[in-house]
């Protein structure tokens, strides 16, 4: 019987140069795996592979040298332990994320929870080409939001709370964009919103909680970091609710499904059809 390589690839089994050997990709969400699952990965690598795993560039795990005749057995072992194979080919890939505000002092959003929801909603959705979703908790950008087809970055719009302020000048010193001016003598603090990059460093560092603010999601569209390199573009102001964020992702994926050519990355589709139309649609649905 002919081997359906395409179907195997779709299910996370990638052909190796060694005939009838496959590197099996696992479904990892937000760069996290439970210890008990890691133990299973170890067992499978020992039993069916060559006793090692490969860590991918996007927080994935692959077990190389799975034999064709073992594919079904490996799939069964995976599913019975609660693990699943990953996705390759023209569909939504591994959702990447940093540890976010639940762990990291710099984090502004709960990246882990968002990655899990993205995974539930979008993982392996069929599209004209591969589609990468990545989530980073703050402007330090450990997870490189702008290199994804759609990247999310935690941000915060700061608000000055006059009655708590001691005019110490720390926020002016920490602001990487020079957007804050503390006039110590006049007891005034000026924020130039056009310079503010929503990094939240003023809020995080103020000892007196004289900066508050709402955290939200800054979304970047059309990033590429493969054969071609392009930096994702921010088309919308910071988004404050998950509901609007999902609407934005839904609309983007539908747009790509509608206008993308086979084997054309999203950013290149946008270059071809023009960014204006997507921007207009997104602005309408994110109001």
């Amino acid at each position: 019987m002919a081997v359906n390589y395409k179907e195997l690839k779709q299910g996370g089994f990638m052909r190796q140069i060694q005939k009838d050997n496959f590197s099996m990709r696992l479904r990892i969400v937000g760069g996290q795996i439970e210890a008990k699952h890691l133990k299973k990965v170890y067992e499978i690598a020992e039993k069916y592979g060559q006793g090692y795993v490969h860590m991918t560039s996007r927080q994935g795990i692959e077990i190389p040298f799975i034999k064709l005749e073992d594919v079904e057995a490996v799939k069964n072992e995976l599913t019975s332990s609660g693990l699943q194979p990953g996705a390759c080919g023209p569909r939504v890939r591994t959702i990447t994320a940093c540890q976010g505000r639940k762990i990291c002092p710099s984090g502004l959003i709960d990246t882990t929870e968002l990655a899990q929801e993205f995974d539930r909603r979008y993982f392996a959705r069929e599209l004209p080409h591969k589609f990468k979703l990545g989530i980073t908790g703050c402007s330090n950008n450990c997870l490189k939001a702008e290199e994804n087809d759609l990247g999310v970055k935690g941000g915060m719009k700061p608000e000055w709370i006059e009655e708590s302020c001691t005019f110490c000048g720390l926020c002016e010193a920490v602001c990487p964009k020079g957007a804050i001016q503390v006039q110590k003598k006049d007891k005034q603090v000026l924020l130039d919103e056009s310079k503010c990059n929503s990094c939240g460093k003023c809020v995080k560092s103020c000892s007196f909680d004289a900066w508050g603010g709402k955290s939200g999601y800054i979304v970047y569209f059309g990033g590429l970091f493969g054969n071609q390199i392009a930096t994702g573009r921010q088309l919308l102001p910071i988004i404050y609710t998950e509901e609007i964020l999902y609407r934005v992702v839904d609309t983007t994926l539908e747009f790509f499904q509608r206008y993308g050519k086979k084997s054309e990355r999203f950013g290149l589709t946008m270059e071809r059809v023009g960014w204006d139309s997507l921007e207009k649609e997104l602005k309408e649905i994110s109001r």
């Binding site: 001691t166 110490c168 000048g169 720390l170 010193a173 560092s205 000892s207």
Partner: protein, 80 residues
């Protein structure tokens, strides 16, 4: 700096994470409420050291830009 200062540490000659470590060591020698003066470089130290101090319960009460690529800050031990 006009306020009363109980100790001084210069962290312009070290890089992260030794910057914060030197400040912590200096703070350990102080009593609650006492003031430590810290001189640090612009960029990464001024962006991170005050935030880490806040996370550990201390207060940054004054910041002066020395206009030479360094800042001098006053830290009150254990806030209050």
């Amino acid at each position: 700096m006009s306020a009363r200062v109980d100790d001084y540490v210069d962290i312009t000659d070290v890089v992260c994470p030794i910057t914060f470590v030197k400040v912590k060591v200096a703070l350990e020698e102080l009593e609650e409420g006492q003031i430590l003066e810290v001189k640090m470089n612009e960029g990464e130290p001024i962006q991170n050291v005050p935030r880490s101090l806040k996370d550990e319960g201390h207060q940054v009460t004054q910041v002066v830009n020395n206009e030479d690529g360094t800042f001098t800050i006053l830290v009150k031990k254990d806030g209050i």
